[in-house]
């Protein structure tokens, strides 16, 4: 199949000024920023942006955030997990106010992306805030009327740490061909079968597409989680090149 160029491609990357238009709480430690980015070229689900903060004395620092929303004009949503000793996330999570400007550049990244024209079944495995780029895929599938069958397996510490919980419940009900399963690592809700545990071979075997179906697999989460899940998928017979991974940092869920 012909691949269209990745949005944002074929030109050098410049910083743009975005403005916060809305803020939504997702969990006690994660929130979604709705940004207006004039001239935004659109994006593929799974792409990210670099966000840059500059202090009055000129000190500047940047971080990379996955885009949470489907492509929609000049609006862009980022879901930010607050890292208490972090340099950027506490500012984005607590200080940046509606109307404030923030610099960003993107979209970037052409590897960990899903195209709604692809019809192969898709397995999504998320650990903690690794759900963010996978949610962009779920939302893009819905917005574009994509027909690919999706199975999402989401590992969270407790039910309160489940990002997009209400929307995932609704989409699992309303989006034909989308299944969502959860694994709880520390505290499970009433009625969930089994004890809190780390996601293991049995969970992947039960809830992901079998290797015979040649699904596209997208795994995103903390480094240790991603390594473990990718090893399980490959041990279950998935072709390594069909297992796309995105690691976002040190700590485990």
């Amino acid at each position: 199949m012909a691949r269209a160029a990745v949005p944002g491609g074929l030109s050098r990357l410049d910083w743009r000024v975005a403005r916060l238009v809305e803020r939504r709480a997702e969990t006690p430690s994660a929130g979604t920023l709705v940004l207006d980015v004039p001239g935004w070229p659109g994006h593929l689900p799974g792409q990210h942006v670099d966000v840059r903060l500059t202090a009055e004395d000129g000190y500047s620092t940047q971080r990379s955030y996955s885009i949470a929303s489907a492509s929609d004009g000049s609006h862009l949503e980022l879901t930010v997990q607050r890292v208490d000793d972090g340099e950027v996330s506490p500012y984005l999570a607590d200080v940046l106010a509606v109307g404030d400007p923030v610099e960003l550049r993107g979209p970037v990244g052409g590897w960990f992306v899903w195209r709604h024209t692809d019809t192969a079944p898709v397995t999504l495995v998320a650990g903690g805030s690794g759900i963010v780029p996978l949610m962009a895929m779920v939302r893009t599938r819905r917005a574009a009327g994509g027909k690919a069958l999706f199975r999402l397996l989401y590992s969270v510490r407790t039910p309160q740490d489940c990002i997009y919980a209400d929307e995932l419940r609704r989409r699992a009900r309303e989006d034909f061909g989308l299944d969502v399963a959860y694994v709880y690592t520390r505290e499970a809700p009433d009625g969930w079968p089994g004890e809190p545990r780390r996601l293991g071979v049995a969970d992947v075997n039960t809830h992901a597409w079998p290797a015979d179906f040649q699904p596209a697999c997208f795994v995103c989460g903390p480094t240790g989680f991603v390594e473990a899940v990718a090893d399980i998928l490959i041990a279950l017979g998935h072709e390594p090149r069909r297992v796309r991974t995105e690691r976002f940092g040190p700590s485990g869920p």
Binding site: A2, R3, A4, A5, V6, G8, G9, L10, S11, R12, L13, H48, V49, D50, Q62, R63, S64, Y65, S66, T79, V80, Q81, V83, D85, G86, E87, V88, S89, R105, G106, V108, G109, G110, W111, F112, S129, G130, V132, P133, C220, T223, R244, T245, E246, R247, F248, G249, P250, S251
Partner: protein, 97 residues
Amino acid sequence: MDRFEGRYEDGDFTDGNALAGPLREIFAVDLTTASGRCAHCGAEGPVAALRVYAHAPGLVARCPSCTEVIMRLVRGPSSAWLDLRGAVSLHIPLGVE
């Protein structure tokens, strides 16, 4: 999602997806989909799958098979320094016009 926040310990790494922005500042195409060959062990794979250590000065990308350094990228105030010592080649998809 945030790749560089939080306290890194020895051995912590993220991956080549995190190079997308820093490399797009230099190159006109996305290099994370480029397929590279490790000069040390010969393993082939996408730049996106490299192990990236972000707690060094700059970004150090290592081969996921043998952990030798493939590339290093350091951004200064007015220039970038890119060391590609560990890559024999990069095969870069250019999309379809």
